[in-house]
């Protein structure tokens, strides 16, 4: 019995669960990503040492580490489909929008796991002052959302080309710079006791714009 489009929510949820299950069974994606994040963090800490009162450096380096971790790991959600040749299967059971949202939510979850490990380690290793948790987590959340929106689309595009990791990083970068700037600025502001309003608004607006435009574009990403 043919299904109808109104079950899109169910489709997104099913895809998300499948991603989690596949990731759990193979686990190399998450392992590699965590290893990379910790390696980057260790390098930074080793090279720079404790930065107790340098809030500008602290916020900048935090986001550089997170950016690197994201660029190293978030493309693999689609690359795995392409290398396993399962994209045809996916396209036959779900609409492009459902696939995109499922993968986006998975990437967001993935990022959250990486951040849950990396951020506390960073704060501890770098001797950072205690953050204003509300503002800090808001920036982390919004920045990650925008990051996931941009990299999921770029990942979908790159997975169909000859290029892989380096191309993914280079092509994503222009899209990620506004996120970097706003997140760094906002993180610094919350450490200095200032308001994060402008930066948070920028991140939210950017994430919304990226999401809206990419949802329209996903219909054109898979056509052959």
């Amino acid at each position: 019995m043919p299904s109808n489009g109104s079950s899109s929510g169910a489709a997104v949820w099913a895809i998300l669960r499948k991603e989690c299950r596949s990731e759990w069974r193979t686990r190399y994606g998450l392992n590699a990503a965590l290893l990379f994040a910790i390696t980057t963090l260790t390098s930074v800490s080793f090279a720079v040492g404790r930065l107790t009162d340098r809030t500008d450096m602290l916020s900048a380096l935090l986001w550089v580490v997170l950016l690197f971790a994201a660029l190293a790991s978030l493309s693999h959600a689609f690359v795995r489909e392409v290398e396993g040749h399962t994209l045809t299967l996916l396209r036959l059971v779900a609409s492009p929008t459902a696939i995109a949202l499922g993968k986006l939510l998975f990437n967001l979850l993935f990022l959250a796991v990486i951040e849950a490990v990396t951020v506390p380690l960073y704060l501890a290793l770098m001797g950072a002052p205690p953050p204003r948790w509300g503002a800090f987590l808001a920036l982390l959340g919004l920045g990650s959302l925008a990051l996931a929106c941009a990299t999921t689309l770029v990942g979908a595009v790159i997975s169909q080309t000859r290029g892989r990791g380096a191309l993914f990083a280079g092509v994503s970068l222009p899209l990620l710079l506004p996120i970097l700037a706003a997140s760094v600025s906002g993180t610094r502001a919350q450490w200095l006791g200032g308001a994060i309003g402008p930066e948070a608004r920028l991140l939210a607006a950017y994430a919304a714009a990226l999401l809206a435009v990419s949802l329209v574009l996903y219909d054109h990403v898979w056509e052959d």
Binding site: D56, A150, L153, V154, V157, I158, Q160, T161, R162, G163, L167, G170, V171, L173, P174, L175, L177, P178, A181, A182, V184, S185, R188, P198, E199, L202, Y206, A209, L210, V213, S214, L217, H220, V221, E223, D224
Partner: protein, 215 residues
């Protein structure tokens, strides 16, 4: 033929005029001359980007390869002018303020445009199939378009406040002497003509390659 020749004569004539006829801007000194080259180059960079992105959107809508030819050609020419604008601007900055690069808002903006151009062209070079290349680069162009307002206006302001700079930017804010304005506008026209001429050449090559069935 006539058009090419007149374009050549136009640009040459006004370049000469820039040296012998137009006066200097007091605060800029001899470096005034750069503004006849640097700003038109930056203008063409923006024009080419808009042209490319516009045709990318049209490609997604109409699926005619002509739009892809236009988009790709504009990107290739745009990055050339972008490099020219960046380098000339950097030299000017060195002459004026002693540093080749300051990350002030305009420098940051032109750098971002270079990143977008480079990413677009790198993406294209990684796809062999013609239709897929056209479609995916058009998709990227569309999403890059979203980042442009954020990159051009918002980020420089945030970045600027992160790195406050007491440098006053005289470009464009100067009350232009009429002769300066004339030469400047003439060069703007000349550069625009240069862009469209190069664009038409590149598109013609692309059409031939497409007809011959080359990837």
């Amino acid at each position: 033929m006539i058009a090419r020749a007149s374009l050549f004569v136009w640009i040459t004539a006004w370049m000469v005029a820039a040296f012998v006829w137009a006066p200097l801007v007091p605060v800029l000194g001899e470096t005034t001359r750069v503004l006849y080259f640097h700003i038109p180059a930056a203008w063409v960079t923006v024009l080419a980007l808009a042209w490319s992105m516009g045709h990318s959107a049209l490609y997604l809508k109409r699926r005619s390869m002509e739009h892809d030819h236009q988009a790709a050609a504009a990107a290739e020419i745009g990055i050339l002018f972008c490099v020219a604008a960046t380098v000339s601007g950097s030299l000017w900055a060195k002459a004026m303020w002693g540093a080749y690069w300051n990350w002030d808002p305009r420098e940051t903006s032109i750098f971002f445009m270079m990143l977008i151009y480079a990413a677009y062209l790198a993406l294209r070079s990684a796809i062999d199939q013609e239709e897929r290349r056209a479609r995916l680069s058009a998709v990227y162009s569309a999403i890059a378009f979203v980042s442009v307002p954020f990159l051009m206006f918002v980020v420089p302001r945030i970045y600027y406040s992160l790195h406050p700079d007491p440098i006053i930017n005289p470009r464009g804010k100067v009350d232009m002497d009429p002769r300066i304005r004339i030469v400047f506008l003439a060069m703007l026209v000349g550069f625009t003509g240069l862009f469209f001429w190069l664009q038409s050449l590149r598109v013609r090559v692309a059409r031939i390659e497409h007809r011959r069935g080359e990837p």
